[in-house]
């Protein structure tokens, strides 16, 4: 008993330092292989022949047209989806009706449908072989292999994003504030603009951010409906595929680097929103 060394104190609710270190190491190693590695290689490959080559690739007419098209699609599809998300969240959270759970399931449906199958569905609905599509093509409004089809495909894959962010937040906030405003004589639009919107703006922004990132980057659904016409229906991701398959590595990775910067910006804004306005997003992060 004379030379008993003191046992280092360790709370019973913690792992040993060795276990901790091993788990942190696994986490860093795994993310290094899967996330940080790919992130770095995009920029390394884009700049493999220097800045000049990368910028030359971006100012190529096809690349420039792809960038314009991708921006145009996002500008059309994201606000439409935001409008849908707000309407759906209002309908679902402000009224009581039968089949609500079923409606939510239907809104979530695009998450469990492969983007390729989504594109296939749009071709079967609006393609020139279908009844509706044949009539639209004959009247001079082609949907498939044209802008409207790409927008529809993009909207399909991003469909649930905004609604899913808003519904939990609006359920948590309840209806009391809106009811008070109504009792005081405010009109419906005034209630929405001055009571509801300030409560949901950060959740709305969060949903729009995620939906925009997906809209600009969607590949599978767009690949099926776009027809991949260079300079016309080739979005940025489609152009990346075409350049890559032609072994134009620097050009492909330069465009990829632009989209990667957009992804990093999205993550930065998303993290900032989560840090600053966690209370107004909280409901969405609880499952």
């Amino acid at each position: 008993m004379s030379d008993a060394r003191p046992i280092p104190f360790r709370p019973a609710t913690e792992e040993t330092p060795a276990t901790r270190l091993a788990l942190i190491g696994l986490a860093i190693g795994g993310l290094g292989l899967l996330v940080f590695g790919p992130l770095l290689i995009v920029f390394a490959e884009a700049l493999a022949q220097g800045w000049r080559a990368a910028f030359a690739a971006l100012s190529n007419p096809d690349a420039a047209s792809a960038i314009r098209l991708t921006l145009l699609i996002a500008v059309i599809a994201v606000p439409l989806n935001a409008a849908f998300g707000i309407a759906a969240a209002w309908f679902i959270t402000k009224f009581d009706f039968r089949g609500k759970a079923f409606l939510i399931t239907l809104i979530d449906l695009p998450f469990s449908v492969s983007p390729v199958v989504a594109g296939l569905c749009i071709i079967l609905m609006f393609g020139s072989n279908s009844l509706l599509g044949g009539w639209l093509v004959a009247s001079g409004y082609p949907i498939v292999f044209a802008l409207p089809g790409i927008v529809l495909a993009t909207m399909f894959v991003t469909f649930p994003f905004v609604a899913r962010e808003l519904i939990p937040v609006m359920i948590e906030q309840g209806r009391a504030e809106e009811e008070a405003a109504l009792t005081l004589g405010a009109s419906g639009w005034r209630v929405f603009a001055t009571v509801t919107l300030p409560n949901i703006r950060w959740a709305l922004l969060y949903g729009v951010l995620l939906s925009n990132a997906r809209a600009m980057g969607e590949f599978g659904a767009v690949a099926v409906v776009s027809g991949k016409i260079r300079g016309q229906t080739a979005t940025m991701p489609i152009t990346i595929e075409m350049l890559y398959n032609e072994y134009l590595s620097v050009a492909a990775f330069s465009l990829a680097a632009v989209l990667t910067l957009l992804a990093l910006l999205t993550l930065f804004l998303k993290t900032a929103l989560e840090l600053r306005h966690a209370d107004q997003l909280a409901a969405a992060r609880r499952h």
Binding site: A12, T13, E14, T16, R20, L23, L26, A27, I28, L31, V35, G37, P38, L39, I41, V42, E45, A83, A87, A88, F91, K94, F95, R98, L103, L109, P110, F111, S112, V113, S114, P115, V116, V117, A118, L120, I123, L124, M125, F126, F159, L182, L210, A213, G217, F219, G220, A223, P237, I240, E241, A256, T260, A263, T266, L267, F268, K270, R285, H287
Partner: protein, 278 residues
């Protein structure tokens, strides 16, 4: 009489919000899916079966679902580990690691596809190391496996993280005072609490992997019977304007995914009932 279809409410905007919701849902999602099912119905059950019942289609379906299951299982384990590390431990760079988990949500799949291929090809940084050990990653099923892990990575972590945050230390202390070792506490107390959320994340990750196309086709090599995934088979049929066959494979994929999600939902209901909280 039963409940009314819609309860009367003083809230404004019923007609408008219901109209916008149902119109857009129908136009963007329901009618196109209906068109697929209609195509399948007019093609006929027998023809659908004949289309699917070919070696190449079976191989692609089996490959897609098998590798998606493996990738989702990997993400289940790694995702719970990540959630635990990010919530419980404090170390430099934790915030960056936390934000990095979401990169697969934000990074376009085509970009992920070419980046993973550049890394894991035999000439790439990681691929060269694997080659030293005699393993080929890109253009084999290993490559598909890695791409599917990538796209499903955030789901389990993001569903489990809030649950880990809410675990009360008292529960762990109680377990420890009753004589349980740390490992025993984790196995019998903590993991059961995380199970429902982890299963939700697993299901989302699986659903995402099964349908994934963009990140896989670059790294897969796309050799029929070996590394050809089911979504690619649909694209090939479409490029040959073979809409009937594309619809048949599409319907098969839809049915199998829904069956899997249903099974996972049932497991979840069962596990929640057994553990005793919602």
């Amino acid at each position: 009489m039963g409940k009314p279809l819609i309860h009367r409410s003083p809230m404004p905007g019923l007609g408008l919000s219901m109209g916008v919701t149902l119109t857009m849902l129908s136009l963007v999602v329901l009618l196109p899916i209906g068109a697929l099912l209609w195509k399948g119905a007019s093609f006929g059950l027998g023809n659908i079966w004949d289309t699917i019942n070919r070696e190449r289609v079976w191989a692609a379906l089996f490959l897609s679902f098998r590798l998606s299951l493996f990738a989702a299982l990997f993400n289940l384990v790694f995702g719970v580990l990540l959630a635990w590390v990010l919530v419980r431990y404090r170390f430099p760079g934790r915030r960056i690691l936390d934000a990095a988990v979401d990169l697969p949500f934000a990074l376009p799949t085509a970009v992920a596809g070419i980046a993973l291929t550049a890394l894991y090809a035999p000439s790439g940084a990681f691929g060269a190391i694997a080659k030293e050990f005699g393993v080929k990653i890109a253009y084999t099923q290993w490559g598909i496996f890695i791409a599917l892990i990538f796209v499903g990575l955030p789901f389990v972590t993001r569903t489990v993280q809030p649950v880990v945050e809410e675990i009360e230390r008292e529960v762990e202390e109680a377990s420890a005072t009753l004589g349980a070792s740390r490992g025993h506490t984790i196995r019998r107390v903590i993991l059961p609490m995380l199970a429902p959320a982890a299963l939700t994340g697993f299901a989302l990750s699986l659903a995402r992997a099964v349908g994934e196309y963009g990140s896989v086709i670059f790294i897969a090599g796309n050799i029929p019977l070996k590394t050809e995934i089911a979504p690619l088979l649909i694209v090939i049929q479409l490029e040959e304007f073979n809409y009937d066959a594309a619809a048949a494979i599409g319907i098969a994929m839809l049915l199998i995914s829904f069956a899997m999600l249903l099974a996972i939902n049932l497991i979840q209901v069962f596990s929640r009932r057994r553990i005793g909280y919602v």
